[in-house]
């Protein structure tokens, strides 16, 4: 299923205009990272994809559904959404109940729901914590519970708002692997991140936002090398791109393997 955002503008009730005519299309199997300065409108934009916010003007179509005409509950069957702050999302008294809740509520049999919850908790490495209370876990583990609860829904589209915040090296790699797997399964993944090195390594396409608008939208390599545009929105190119530039290399690498290849060339 595809996501089509057309000329979207949004003003919060208090009068702050967060989005000014944003257009964006994302296709199945595409992984899109959204980057940009604090307050650029990234979270406001993705909250439109599952209908938490409705456009002030313009429209958002999710697999052909206009989000104005569907409830958040209906849209949840198509779009999985992981909040920036896991505590906005978690409510059950065990990790297991939390992850089982979604699948149980979309008409699956108990057996199917159990299977999904089990697979999702294994994917984030928390199967051994299934019987714990989410609030007995650290915030980074709660964040992984939130990711698992959305994975268990197996929606065609997923929105992840800063999934690597507060995650250590290994967990960041784990999230990267989950994104790669989702992409392979043909799902549409939209992720907000401030981790530009992570972004370069795991996303095909990068959307750069500033002040409620899109500054750049294109393949990761083409967008992330544009230091001057990125600087306007408080972002720097990834470490290896900066290194390759300082070394006067011809090409800009997205990961360590490419860096070594380009360096030897």
């Amino acid at each position: 299923m595809d996501i089509w955002i057309d000329q979207l503008s949004f003003t919060y009730p208090a009068g702050v205009t967060a989005l000014r005519g944003v257009s964006l299309k994302a296709m199945p199997g595409e992984s899109v990272a959204i980057i940009g300065e604090n307050g650029a409108g990234k979270t406001t934009l993705v909250k439109h994809i599952n209908g938490l916010l409705k456009p002030t003007s313009g429209q958002v179509l999710v697999g052909g559904w206009n989000t104005r005409e569907y409830t958040v509950a209906q849209l949840a069957s198509r779009v999985g959404y992981v909040f920036q702050n896991p505590d906005d999302q978690l409510f059950a008294s065990t990790v297991w109940a939390e992850v089982l809740f979604g699948p149980k509520n979309i008409g699956l049999t108990m057996e199917q729901a159990t299977e999904r919850a089990d697979a999702a908790l294994r994917a984030v490495g928390l199967i051994d914590s299934a019987q714990k209370h989410p609030y007995d876990l650290s915030i980074s583990q709660r964040k992984k519970v939130a990711v698992a609860s959305v994975l268990a829904m197996q929606t065609p589209m997923l929105v992840l708002d800063e999934p690597t915040t507060g995650q250590d090296h290994n967990d960041t790699e784990l999230v990267g692997q989950i994104v790669e797997d989702l992409k392979e399964q043909g799902r549409t993944v939209i992720t907000i991140t401030h981790d530009i090195d992570f972004c370069a390594e795991h996303f095909d396409r990068v959307v750069v936002m500033a002040q409620g608008m899109i500054l750049l939208d294109g393949p990761a390599r083409d967008t992330l090398m544009q230091a001057e545009v990125l600087a306007q929105t408080h972002v720097e190119p990834p470490q290896l791109m900066r290194l390759s530039e300082q070394l006067n290399m011809q090409e800009r690498p997205l990961n360590v393997q490419e860096f070594i290849e380009f360096w030897c060339a």
Binding site: Y12, A14, V16, G36, E37, N38, G39, T43, Q84, N85, D87, S138, I139, S140, Q141, E162, T165, G166, Q167, D168, H169, N170, D171, T172, H194, I196, D197, A231, T233, H234, V235, E236, P238, Q239, L240, R242, L243, Q246, L247, V256, Q257, F259, I260, W263, C264
Partner: protein, 291 residues
């Protein structure tokens, strides 16, 4: 040397849990030092932050063994109300720290200073100064609760810095900040450590800028210190990576280059951009001389 923070054989166990979160941990930090704490999740980093700020044992009970001395005060014998005059703590999640009772960002930042009885004109000056430093001047009249996650995190940092604590403990203070914003906050804290002799303990995963700005780096794993030294030494240590501490892409690239025989023999792995540039340039020179 005059140590501002001293932990002597500290072991701490949370209530109802059998495994200690910190085990026999000793650490001494002199006044004015900017000490970074790194390590995988679950290593005990946040527990260390609570221990240094007196939340352990005054808020989290559990079992604390050993001695914790902060600015000359033993935390066990000193009430939290006295410790907070000396120690500023920035929590991991800004939503947990914002007062929720103030209508504007300016009032939120002034709140801590009001409680310390700071002079009115002085409060205004410090507010203006710190808002400019952390890049939130244009948010002064906004409601703290209407801000984005990253903006709120800046407000929390500003409100603690405005109190000019002698000791500052930060638990992932830049987790939600944009990349240049993170670097600016680290730089501001670096400057405060130098100019105000403020002692800083910062838990962070953003290794690139810690490597540049911190004086010292302590790596934790499983509640104990596994490395303690200059950031460049700690981050280039392969034994430290294997315990789940991350490394910069410069370290990854120089390590990969070394494995392929492309890194100068006997040269340490790069941790910063500068070191990586110098290392690869040196490798190039050696290579062209040979050919």
């Amino acid at each position: 040397m005059n140590h501002n923070i001293e932990l002597n054989q500290v072991t701490y166990t949370y209530p109802g849990i059998t495994t200690p979160a910190l085990t026999d941990l000793s650490l001494a930090i002199p006044a004015g030092q900017f000490c970074a704490v790194v390590g995988p999740n679950g290593a005990g980093k946040s527990t260390l932050a609570y221990t240094l700020s007196g939340f352990i044992p005054h808020f989290y009970h559990g079992t604390l063994q050993g001695e914790v001395t902060i600015a000359g005060m033993n935390t066990r014998d000193t009430p939290l109300s006295e410790l907070v005059l000396m120690v500023g703590l920035v929590f991991q999640n800004p939503f947990n720290q914002i007062s929720g009772t103030k209508f504007t960002v300016r009032e939120e930042i002034a709140f801590g200073m009001e409680n310390l009885g700071v002079d009115r004109q002085e409060m205004i000056n410090r507010c203006d100064d710190i808002m400019a430093k952390v890049g939130i001047r244009d948010l002064a009249q906004r409601s703290p609760l209407s801000l984005s996650g990253g903006q709120m995190q800046r407000v929390v940092i500003a409100s603690v810095l405005a109190m000019q604590p002698q000791i500052l403990i930060l638990d992932e203070p830049t987790s939600q900040l944009d990349p240049i914003g993170s670097r600016e906050v680290l730089l501001t804290i670096r400057e405060l450590a130098s100019t105000h002799a403020m002692t800083v303990v910062m838990i962070e995963h953003k290794l690139e800028w810690l490597a540049v700005y911190a004086d010292r780096m302590v790596a934790l794993a499983d509640g104990t210190i596994i490395a303690d030294g200059l950031p460049g030494e700690v981050l280039a240590d392969e034994a430290v990576w294997s315990r789940g501490v991350g490394r910069t892409r410069y370290t990854q690239a120089s390590h990969q280059a070394r494995m392929n025989g492309l890194w100068p023999k006997g040269r340490s792995l790069a941790v910063t951009l500068e070191q990586a540039v110098a290392g690869f340039q040196a490798a190039q020179t050696t290579y062209s001389k040979k050919s």
